[in-house]
């Protein structure tokens, strides 16, 4: 717990205030809209698109954007523990934002049932958040450059948004927005499972990469 506490204290401040600012922004926008369908669209946009993008880009900076990286590497703390302690706070903030937004949205009578039941609603934003987090982290570690990890996160996000039809027709298993945009798709569960497995594979890749510490100095 102390390690997590310090992992949090050693982050840049925007790791907290930026997701909070976006949360407040979307809460206000949703509150200003009176029509239920628009409120739903905003809620879906925040949970399904913005939350994962923010999480992915912050994850790209989580490990390597560390002023004491060389000191950290000289300790017995392994790569797995480093990844966990640096990523858990970020994903934790995203999760807290997602849950907080849903509480506000339900208070504004936003109906999430078009996305399915409770589990389906949570999976609709958790899966893309985990995927983009994995892309951001592994991209940054593979290229030893946080901004490239951020770019890869943004590129995947954009490609998935803009080429939705083609991706659904040709490799639907990798369509991370299926839960928000195609909640009734028959392959939804399979797709989400595939994406979680793919994210786990990227996590393993990240672990292997981070063990080669000198690449990052």
């Amino acid at each position: 717990m102390s390690a997590l506490k310090y992992a949090w204290l050693t982050y840049r401040r925007e790791t907290l205030w930026f997701p909070l600012a976006f949360l407040v922004f979307f809460v206000v926008i949703a509150w200003m809209m009176r029509r239920p369908d628009i409120r739903f669209a905003i809620a879906r946009g925040y949970l399904g698109f913005m939350l994962p993008l923010i999480g992915g880009i912050l994850a790209a900076y989580a490990v390597l954007d560390d002023p004491a990286l060389e000191l950290r590497f000289a300790t017995p703390t392994g790569a797995a523990r480093t990844l966990l302690t640096r990523l858990i706070p970020i994903l934790g903030v995203q999760a807290a934002s997602g849950i907080a937004f849903q509480l506000f949205a339900r208070g504004m009578a936003v109906d999430f049932s078009p996305l399915g039941g409770q589990v389906a609603v949570q999976m609709a934003w958790i899966v893309p958040t985990v995927v983009l987090g994995a892309v951001g982290t592994s991209g940054a570690l593979a290229t030893a450059h946080c901004a490239t990890g951020a770019f890869l996160t943004g590129a995947v996000w954009l490609v998935q948004l803009l080429m939705r039809g083609w991706i659904l027709s040709n490799c639907g298993m990798l369509y991370m927005f299926m839960g928000v945009l195609e909640p009734r798709h028959p392959d939804l569960r399979l797709s989400q499972t595939s994406l979680i497995v793919a994210s786990a594979a990227l996590a393993v890749v990240s672990w292997r990469l981070l063990r080669r510490q000198e690449r990052y100095l």
Partner: protein, 251 residues
């Protein structure tokens, strides 16, 4: 110096591969490479569509990777060294801007010309294509990247880098790809930098070969769009210069 950044070449390399795959894929994914020769009267619209497609993702690379160019000088203390030289803030800003812009444009120009050369060599396009592509590059891609790079070197000075990158990627989607009827957006206004105005106004091309019908924008709209984007670029660079001057005075 920016041209030597490994991150730039990695990102561009991935996009070059991605776009080349798209270009040589059959419809509906690929546009026009597979199959028929481009008719002579189609050369200019096709060149325009080619570069408009380039504008979907390449500005994202430019925006994300140039975001630290000026901020880095401030963070590393380089700015203090530069202020002790005869280099005035205006020259510094122009040098940073055009340097970053050139680093983003040159590899891209090389790639589009290579594609054009291949197209011509294999007989899919007449030699006139080799002229149409650089003209379309100048009219469609250069303004987009010029707009993006200006904001990207300036805005991160007011916010953390990762925050800017998230906002920029969100902006790029919101301001260029959300249909105006669906949601309030800058898409379709004179502030749109994605090249649609120039594509339709100068090159007579629709957004996609799959979309028939007359263009929404004419040449006058395209000129206005370019003028507005240029004015935005100048305004940002002037503001940035003023901010650096004030900062030096107060230091």
């Amino acid at each position: 110096m920016s041209l030597r950044r490994r991150a730039l070449w990695i990102a561009y390399g991935l996009l070059f591969g991605f776009h080349t795959l798209l270009l040589f894929s059959p419809p509906p994914l690929g546009e026009w490479i597979a199959g028929e020769r481009i008719a002579s009267h189609e050369i200019w619209p096709v060149a325009g569509r080619f570069l408009a497609a380039v504008n979907v993702f390449f500005p994202v690379v430019a925006g994300v990777l140039t975001a630290d160019r000026v901020k880095r000088d401030l963070t590393l203390g380089m700015r203090e060294l530069q202020e002790s030289t005869p280099l005035d803030p205006a020259s510094y800003v122009l040098a940073k801007y055009f340097g970053a812009l050139a680093a983003c444009l040159l590899p891209l120009l090389g790639w589009v010309m290579a594609i054009a050369a291949v197209m011509t060599a294999i007989g899919h396009a007449a030699p006139g294509f080799l002229l149409a592509v650089p003209v379309a590059f100048a009219a469609i891609t250069v303004p987009a990247l010029a707009f993006v790079v200006a904001f990207s070197i300036a805005c991160p000075l007011a916010m953390p880098l990762a925050v800017y990158q998230v906002l920029f990627i969100g902006y790029w989607f919101w301001a260029n790809f959300i249909p105006p009827g669906l949601f309030p957006t800058l898409n379709g206004t004179l502030l749109t930098p994605n090249g649609m105005f120039a594509l339709q106004g100068f090159f007579g091309g629709p957004v996609s070969a799959a979309i028939a019908g007359p263009s929404r924008y004419d040449a006058r709209d395209a000129v206005l769009n370019l003028a507005v984007l240029a004015a935005c670029v100048i305004a940002v660079l002037v503001l940035l210069t003023g901010w650096l001057r004030r900062r030096a005075r107060l230091a």
